[in-house]
Amino acid sequence: MTPLLEVSGVSKRFGGLLAVSDVSFSLGEREILGLIGPNGAGKTTLFNVVNGVYKGDKGTVKFAGEDITKCSPNQVVHLGLARTHQIVKPLQDMTVLENVTVGACFGREYLALKPARNVALEVLERVGLAKSAEMSARSLTIAGKKRLEVARALAARPKLLLLDEVLAGLNPTEITHMIGIVRDIRDGGISVFMIEHVMQAIMSLSDRIVVLSFGQKLAEGKPEEVARDPQVIEAYLGDPDIAEKLKENN
């Protein structure tokens, strides 16, 4: 079976900085793939190359059998690849419902206004924003805006969802709620590729994890394998001896 997303040998350079260097991995149907790494490792840049915000300098990105390396972000959405932003981008002066309707209108199914509204209402129910539907997006809390990002992306009826730090800045109750939403998304048949810093969450959610450091893929595997990898621990803690000590303690 061909994987849903196949990234091979992707590099992206900004002037003298090699933000992403020769990264390859793949993601299957109904899989949750985690992407972790220290700050500045190139995680968001990799997302941006995958969904076409940036054009990679090298390598190819294939989605559902199609080469999307040169696609623009709006074309990628029509194929079924939606994303959220780490720094939320609500359409401030529009209502929550209108925000999500935009996602449904211009998503994979390119719905007309009326069916798009219905999809939007259904998605808002799913992420727990139904009560705020008529509020302006500006007035939502940060947790609300993160949910709005997810709702808008979901309304596009994607096959694959890229989640960029949807848990950052949330309190423990909100995190539990959001983890529930992500599980629910996968159970609905959508694959998820997510960047996260909240380790417990990503370890429990992901089927597999890719670790990025200084733009390079450091490790890839099941969460427990990755967590034990000395190279990964070194990248996070900056000292290989700590890894050894941690092992001894275990």
């Binding site: 969904n51 915000v53 623009s72 972000p73 709006n74 959405v77 029509h78 994303r83 932003h85 981008k89 609500p90 359409l91 401030q92 002066d93 529009m94 209108e98 309707t101 935009v102 996602g103 209108c105 211009f106 998503g107 390119y110 007309a112 206004l113 798009a116 808008r152 596009a156």
Partner: protein, 321 residues
């Protein structure tokens, strides 16, 4: 459905009254007043499609009006076309021009786009001022015999008046139609956050180019009719930068992004301006007032009159669009 919107019927009633009252009273000076009001509403409404709906400030919107006037007058006088056909052709030609132009300058954002629109206005004005077929800087005149073909000057003037009122009604209906459509939703998304709009699937390049072109059509038609009515055109009156700026004042005054606001601002500002221009003490003072008005609106009521109404009566948002 647009027919279910109260504002749609309001527009029709408003336009019908504007057409009927001066005709019924056979009041020529009222007609000349109202045709300027109608023109202000046309310019403000179409400018609203760019500024209010899409979030792109066009300082050179008047270029469409002037070019429409030139193309229309050229076709109607030199080529002897029927006036209505000439005006429609002017609209079409100018829209195509805007489409081609838009593909280029709409890559720019924010202040850079605004600067480019001023550049376009100045460039077109200089070009026309040196273009032989259009009479260079002396412009073109409508030969008096042209009005004879329309059944005499009196008849021709009333006819252009009704046509301009029709273009005004169409401008408002177009604004309403776009506002309640999927296309409009995409434009609003661009206005709020263009990067987010792309990621949500909106083809922003195409949307922006289309709306820029659409916002050129009716002003160009109006230009053809107005300059035909006036009987002459030259580069300085066709491409008056001040009128472009005043269009922005009208829009901000009434409330950008709303159908009624654009029309209200256009109408009110034009009434105010004609009062100031004709009052012996305040003559040529209208730009001072315009500047002060713009400052006050931007500082204290950024949503204009309609935005202020929305704040007082939030439910008005559902009815007054």
């Amino acid at each position: 459905m647009i027919l279910r919107r109260p504002v749609f019927w309001l527009i029709l009633v408003f336009a019908a009254l504007m057409a009927f009252i001066p005709f019924h009273a056979n009041d020529v000076s009222m007609r000349e007043d109202l045709i300027l009001v109608a023109l202000a509403v046309i310019l403000a409404s179409n400018l609203n499609l760019m500024i209010g709906y899409t979030g792109y400030v066009n300082f050179g919107h008047i270029v469409f009006y002037g070019l429409g006037g030139y193309v229309g007058l050229y076709l109607a006088t030199v080529r002897n076309w029927n006036l209505v056909l000439a005006a429609l052709a002017a609209g079409l030609v100018v829209s195509l021009f805007a489409l081609a132009l838009g593909m280029g300058i709409l890559r720019l954002r924010g202040a850079y786009f605004a600067l480019a629109t001023i550049g376009v206005l100045l460039a077109v004005q200089s070009f026309v001022a040196n273009f032989d077929p259009w009479g260079r800087s002396t412009g073109m005149y409508v030969d008096f015999s042209a009005y004879q073909r329309l059944g005499g000057a009196r008849h021709a003037l009333w006819m252009t008046y009704f046509l301009v009122i029709g273009v005004m009604a169409l401008s408002m209906i177009l604004s309403l139609g776009i506002k309640i459509s999927k296309f409009g939703l995409g434009l609003f998304a661009i206005r709020e956050d263009e990067d987010a709009a792309v990621v949500l699937g909106v083809n922003t390049t195409v949307f922006k180019a289309i709306i820029y072109s659409v916002s050129a059509f009716l002003p160009a038609v109006a230009g053809a009719l107005m300059f035909y009515k006036n009987g002459m055109i030259d580069p300085s009156i066709a491409f008056e930068f001040m009128l472009s700026l005043e269009g922005i004042v009208m829009l901000m005054l009434g409330g950008k992004g709303t159908v009624v606001g654009a029309a209200l601002g256009g109408g009110l500002y034009e009434k105010l301006r004609s009062y100031l221009l004709t009052s012996p003490k305040l003559s040529n003072f209208q730009l001072v007032i315009a500047g002060a008005l713009l400052l006050l609106v931007v500082l204290f009521a950024p949503g204009g009159l309609i935005g202020w109404l929305y704040r007082l009566v939030p439910r008005a948002r559902k009815v007054i669009e």
